[in-house]
Symmetry: C2
Subunit: 732 residues, 2 copies
């Protein structure tokens, strides 16, 4: 058995690497995929170096302590910043939202509620009508009532909505194009090991925070939950630059981002456990148990900071805001798409014009959801609770809150809700994909809650008038409360959101944390499961996966099972008709020949073999690393010419006496490339790529190199198997 020269030396490839570090080797280009295995090895190497040094001096020991604690520090900072930003966004959006209706005379920067806090009117009904707060009609026309002031208010509402929308889209377009949308599909892709520079940068953070406030205040049909996850991930990314452990290692950075996305959901809903499960189930790709614990910590810190900032924080649902936005994928090729600013203004105008007259669409969406979830108690003043027996004043019935016949208020509410439902569903088609920060959690929940409440009231009335029907007879006697319309709304909201995102456990836990009460988990689970199954019948992708596919991101979904019987040799390159695989031999190329191979091809890496005849595999070298190493050598090492021999072996090959100094490239050679045999079923190959986070894998037959499979090859093959266009997969 020949071991080559390597047996004599105990120097490993990694130590080699560190002995002669070439700047730039081991980093990635924009829009490239990272190699998780290498990144984790790099981190362990760094860790070993710190551990070895730590006994040398007190300073090194302090450094090692700092290093060990930096993970906790960075998630704490991320949690603090996410909570604080979410609180700021809440307060600012609330203020701007009220600006659409009027202004506080004694302090411009107070919103409606704060403005009236100091007021003398202490009765509950009059609390909103304090003299300090003037509607625009009151300020401009001097009168609060009448059709003239209604039109004036209507006009000002539209004016402000359009201004906010215009400002938002302008800021996004000019300063940070990455700030648009919910950001979750891109975060999923980044977490799966893709590089998008600037997507989580400080400009994106700043612009996304500001425009999110504006977009929310403009009354557009969008939510702030997805964008908050993006904001939290930006915080995580920015803080990770304080710690070389995280900033210099793409795999470690992704651990911080996983924790940050948990913090984002935590502040969006006030649901820390739901946030952790969301990060685990929906966005994260590589989720070690250490990350579970840190995500939980970040989520908690963020939730507590938000709770201590938020002045309306007595109810959890108050953390909700504004309107909605759902499947945007229908409109990828609109003509309007070329004019994003015009598009936003147009959609904002229609939204504002139609939303104002209907109380259920004018209201902010979180309050609407809260009202729909709430059951009718004796103290409930909502229009939805104007049942007949309540108006008759028969107190005995009200306290037991049995099912009652609906009064005119309920009928009016149902009509308005139906209109709101139609409006919201139609506006969905026109609001998706606007170039402003836009989330979809709350809008989806609102649609579901409206539909659920309507169904709930209908069933309740059915049960009242037809309590002898078989379905009602058993458990619905007259005068008892057997139907709870609020529960129907809650279940509807969960089902709708579940259908859109295909979330499961995390969704149930989020709704459970929002509403409390373990007893509702069973109907919630049933609804989420049903909606997932119904949705899956039309197509197994959630909204984020669709978005990823449409954008062509190289995302290898861990949830989707690969069930075809193809073998590695059918997927690998080169195909039968292709030119042979571009390989490097380990010790008989010159610098010129090597540069020639690199320039003639566009591959990102090249297998290195013993010789063309044997085709026995030695290792793998990356294009970027070869280019950097040659440039570096020609700049720094004397005597490296175009005719210099390049060798990847441990010892230089024997050369004629007059040949120029050879160039040793062993330090950039990956001596442990992953290989599979050509008979390996693709399902195993896909599993290996997913679980180990590979970028490429070499294919051998009986010990000889046959070809290569990259992540892109796999994604293309999967698209082909699913009868999709394989050329849709872009990037590397």
């Amino acid at each position: 058995m020949s071991n080559g020269g390597g047996v004599m030396s105990s120097t490993t490839h990694l130590l080699d690497f560190l002995e002669e570090p070439i700047p730039g080797v081991g980093t990635y280009d924009d829009f490239h995929t990272i190699d998780w295995v290498r990144e984790k090895c790099k981190d362990r190497e760094r860790h070993r170096k710190i551990n070895a040094k730590k006994k040398e001096s007190a300073w090194e020991f302090t450094k090692s302590l700092y290093d060990a604690w930096s993970g906790w520090l960075v998630v704490t900072l991320t949690g603090l910043a996410s909570g604080a930003l979410a609180g700021l966004i809440d307060i600012a959006a609330d203020w701007l939202n009220d600006i659409k209706e009027g202004v506080c005379l004694n302090a411009m920067w107070f919103n409606h509620e704060q403005c009236c806090w100091g007021s003398n009117e202490t009765t509950f009904a009059e609390r909103d009508k304090c003299p300090q707060w003037k509607s625009w009609a009151g300020l401009i026309l001097g009168q609060e009532e009448g059709p003239g002031s209604y039109i004036m208010n209507y006009f000002m509402y539209i004016y402000w909505a359009l201004s906010f929308a215009f400002l938002a889209v302008l800021l996004v377009k000019v300063f940070a194009p990455y700030a648009c949308g919910s950001g979750i599909p891109e975060i999923k892709t980044i977490l799966s090991g893709f590089i998008i520079r600037g997507y989580l940068g400080k400009w994106t953070l700043l612009i996304k925070t500001v425009t999110l406030v504006l977009a929310v205040a403009s009354g557009l049909s969008l939510g702030k939950e997805g964008p908050l996850v993006h904001v939290a991930c930006c915080c995580g990314n920015i803080f990770s630059y304080l710690f070389p452990k995280y900033s210099k290692n793409e795999a470690k950075k992704r651990e911080v981002l996983s924790a940050a996305s948990a913090a984002g959901v935590s502040v969006a809903f006030g649901a820390p456990i739901g946030g952790v499960l969301f990060s685990l189930e929906e966005v994260s790709y590589y989720f070690p148990l250490k990350t579970l614990w840190r995500s939980f910590f970040a989520a908690l810190v963020a939730a507590f900071i938000l709770r201590s900032i938020n002045p309306f924080g007595n109810s959890r649902l108050v953390l909700f805001y504004v309107e909605y936005h759902t499947p945007w994928y229908l409109r990828k090729s609109t003509r309007f798409g070329k004019y994003p600013i015009l598009e936003v203004i147009f959609v904002a105008a229609i939204t504002a014009v139609v939303a104002f007259p209907n109380p259920y669409t004018r209201q902010n969406t979180s309050e609407l959801i809260k009202e729909l979830f709430t059951d009718c108690g004796p103290l409930e003043s909502s229009q939805l609770c104007q049942y007949r027996s309540q108006m008759n004043g028969s107190k005995a019935f009200v306290d037991a809150s049995p099912n009652k016949p609906a009064g005119p208020g309920v009928y009016a509410a149902i009509w308005q809700l139906c209109l709101a439902l139609i409006f919201k569903i139609i506006m969905t088609i026109f609001t998706f994909g606007l170039k402003v920060p836009a989330g979809l959690f709350i809008p989806s929940m609102a649609i579901g809650a409206i539909a659920g409440r309507i169904v709930g009231i209908a069933v309740e009335q059915l049960a009242y008038y037809h309590h002898d029907w078989l379905v009602f007879r058993e458990w619905c006697e007259v005068g008892t409360d057997c139907i709870t319309p609020g529960l129907y709304a809650m279940v509807g909201a969960a089902a709708c959101l579940g259908g859109v995102t295909r979330m499961t456990v995390s969704l149930v836990v989020i709704v459970f944390e929002l509403t409390g009460g373990l007893e509702y988990i069973v109907p919630l689970m049933a609804a989420v499961m049903t909606s997932k199954w119904v949705g899956d019948a039309f197509g197994r992708e959630g909204i984020y996966e669709s978005h990823i596919r449409l954008n062509g991101y190289p995302f290898l979904d861990a949830k989707e099972e690969f069930t075809h019987t193809t073998l590695a040799r059918e997927v690998m390159r080169p195909r039968r008709s292709d030119p042979p695989l571009a390989v490097l031999t380990q010790d008989d190329l010159t610098v010129e020949e090597l540069q020639g191979i690199i320039n003639e091809t566009s591959y990102n890496g090249f297998p290195v073999i013993v010789s063309k005849e044997s085709q026995r595999l030695v290792g793998f070298a990356l294009r970027r690393d070869i280019t950097i190493a040659i440039e570096n050598a020609r700049r720094k090492q004397e005597g490296i010419l175009l005719t210099s021999r390049v060798y990847f072996t441990q010892h230089a090959p024997t050369l004629p006496a007059d040949s120029p100094r050879p160039l040793k490239l062993r330090s950039i050679l990956d001596m442990s490339p992953f290989t599979v045999t050509d008979h390996t079923p693709m399902e195993i190959v896909v599993d290996i790529f997913r679980k180990l986070g590979l970028r490429q894998c070499l294919v051998t037959h009986n010990g000889r190199l046959l070809g290569i499979i990259t992540k892109k090859d796999i994604l293309r093959h999967m698209a082909q198997m699913a009868n999709q266009d394989p050329d849709n997969i872009m990037f590397n």
Copy 2:
């Protein structure tokens, strides 16, 4: 590039396999490790076959539906059974526990509480003293009070405790030795891919259920939480036999077991979300997202069944029972260990004798924990709440519940608690590892809760008498309630359990679900984190990992990071001094030679190579499969003799005309064995083994086979690196 004969044929290794199925190939021996990759491939193949057939007839379609739903069915059944069994165990243990003190005259099968339900004494204090319930002294001596009856009761208490303990250990020893202990270390090992036949069988289930009741009722220092997880896993395993999808595939079966362990924790604590996280964080090895969802469902079903059975189910803490058991690893080599029955009786006797006089040790542990967690309100009648101002009857103070000086009751309680703490800690050393079902959750929590409550009261009194101290001055004015001893108890319980098991998120969520209230999560997290760090300073293993290591199970912990710089070639076999690797050549062995190689070595598998000269790898064949295939061929195929040529290639080699019929073994050849190069760092190899669940991996150098690394080699290497005895790792 040579592709060998394989290119011409599109038959895959898997199809080959299915065309000529040999019974027994692909199954495992007892105490062997499964190969996850193969198991998952087998399942996908099965799935493909069902999918292909499903359009053939209505019957096939029904079968495919049944197959698709069987996962949900089996977790539902498991949840139902676990919930029902947990309820039965609760009721039976409660009844037997009361039998130690007395008997219900009108109905033997009523426990103390049920016996007195029908009683006329309606006042709260008198509820426990109804005439129907007779203590043993009352029944035998005819008097309930006085020193004579105290001694009688004491005697009967010890008598019953010893009887129960004796019966429990006898049943375990005679019928089901696997029923002893908590079972969690073994379940972790099984879930990581190890086969222990009978560990989750029906006898274990039956005996564990019965003896758990007896052990709990005997008053021994043990809890029922771990054993409930074992019981739930037995249910999962038994129900999986109804579905060939799960019974015939070891990887799929482990998905059911993961869900079952979530259901077990769910019923042990009434904490479904905590159960899912426990399964994810603590016991499961391979946890796909589908399992997350199913675990959640199983946990919910189990919790609801238990809640509807349990007659005392108004409080969640009521789901707790009895006493405790902690680090048992100190006593592996006791002389007593040879006499398990004597040992149990001895420990049970001491426990009973010492526990009876102290109210805090006589009480069942769940009630003790509940009392320790509860804060002193005006209605609290506990001895722990006899503060001085309460006895003065100054109601104004009581309602605001400020900190008060302790009264004599509190001082007495503190002394009794200190004694109970010492007793419990000492008994730990003598109760571990008894051959009865024994859990450690509740006992650990009880120790922590006692310690926490003592510290809490001490701090409270400090704050009362020294409210001018710097630490108290800011937030502890006289007459305000700044110290909550109950919270200290809760935090102490979580910290102690965290130190024993090193659980993190799941522990916090379980305690949060037990007690409710998000506001306590921060102190809980801080306590759990601190105790984990303090524990990790002594050694990073939790109790389950220590148990696994002591028993020598081949468990590759996913949490432990491998940080050494060794390379694959330093770990692989053969070492430099070993005989060369036992390999098979692909087409020039006879049956006799093959049998010779198998009989001379004890390896579980053999690499197949092209020829001894080239050392190029073709595939891998398992010892068990070769033996079965040869036996099968000699029994069923005509003309297979000892001199028959064995070939693993696609086509038979050309043989002399008079040679006997050759034996084709390609169907048992794994043509896609995993390979790594000899330069691969062991950290990558360990990662591959963990994430893909491999059993072995071949090592190559420049395309030539060098050696083999098995899971056992890795575990031995890790033990060596940690300065432990590598021969401790047993099994295969």
